[in-house]
Amino acid sequence: MPDGTTVSQGRTWAAPTDESECLGEAVGLVYRSGDRTLIDGIDLQIPRAGRTVVMGANGAGKSLLLRLLHGLLLPSAGHVRWGGRPLDDALRQQQAMVFQRPVLLRRSVAANIRFVLKLRGRADQARVDATLDEVGLAAHAHQPARLLSGGEQQRLALARALATDPQVLFLDEPTASLDPASTAAIETIVNRAHARGTKIMFVTHDLGQARRLADDVIFLHYGQLAEQSPAQRFFDNPVSQAARDYLDGRLVIRKSSK
């Protein structure tokens, strides 16, 4: 097995990363809904630096994993730690999440930014203007947010998330329904945030996007961690069969479901 690569066969796990380079970790993470186990014993360590892209087929548990890591859902078993601490409200305030469908307040574009800045006690107009300027929405400041185009709405959601200067930014397929130009705009903003030191956790189905963005890849298969590797290695030489099948475009249907 190449260095830095982790393959989870069922529940087997070997920690890949130096502790000082680890920002967050999930230990024995399980999430059940009714009698279905949707996240099945995931152990992983999230590197402090870089853009981590979470991949996997539909139903692999990517969005669920993101929600568990961000504390939007409580695990049925196991735990999540960030900086060695269990996730709480104070820690979550250092994180932000952008959803596939942007949830915007029924207010103006500027008021959406002002709302979140006010929560963090720094709602000055200059900051609102600067935030909107950065995502190219300054000209729309006084428009109702819900009248923006899909791409603009997602940029606003991203701007609102970044306005809090998060340490970690979770993005759950933020470009899934966007055209190439809007996708490029989102990726540019994400890359800028990354360059400023924000840890990026990005869920995507788009292989091209994953190749453009990923520094390392977490690959899920039916709720289990199939592989976690540096991006180049993942795309050139995936270790798990599930990842190989996915990259080759083969549909793998599990015979029995839990």
């Binding site: 961000h70 939007l72 949830v103 709302f115 929560l119």
Partner: protein, 235 residues
Amino acid sequence: MQDFSASFGLAFQLVLAADPDLLEIIALSLKVSLSAVAIACLIGLPVGTAIAMGRFRGRTATIILLNALMGLPPVVVGLLIYLLLSNAGPLGWMRLLYTPGAMIIAQAVLITPIVAALSREVVEQLHCEYAEQFRSLSVPRSSAAAALLWDARYSLLTVALAGFGRAVAEVGAVIIVGGNIDHLTRVMTTAIALETSKGDLALALALGIVLITLALSVNAAVMALRLTATRYAYA
């Protein structure tokens, strides 16, 4: 038939001439009903919002009860308020019976469940949409409630107007606790009931015209608000 025509003619004359008695009754009606709406909103909006956002034991039963209270019979409410405010009642010392204050209380009791139940529905719908984002942003409950109320303001105004419509058209409760005293507690609905029984159809019809115009205006205002809010994507 001629009597009816004459009554309609007289009624329009009263309205157009802004008859002082008529204006006095209309003014008191508006004062009582608008005060009742204000009280109902002060109580009903926070209650509706708390139920919409809360997850507690007995929540479904509370919602069922609240919805059932929307259909409170006005005469029963009037009777209960009468018992409370009468000299022998626990609140008799307030000496509110047969005053506009008693009428405001009766109408507020009638429409608070309407405001609470409808606002619960409006706020819950918005809360479902915002909840995950608010959790992600760690929005405190009080800020979340304020944001929900603000963002749902157009729909909640419709709720308040629905409460006003019910209050201003109500007769059973206010006639029991107000007594329909001339120049003191006579409102449009009680005056219509009295004047009809006396055979003075002109004043009754004039008040009826004003009441219907008011109902139409309220509905038109609701529709206009809805359209404006939708046009600007705030609804």
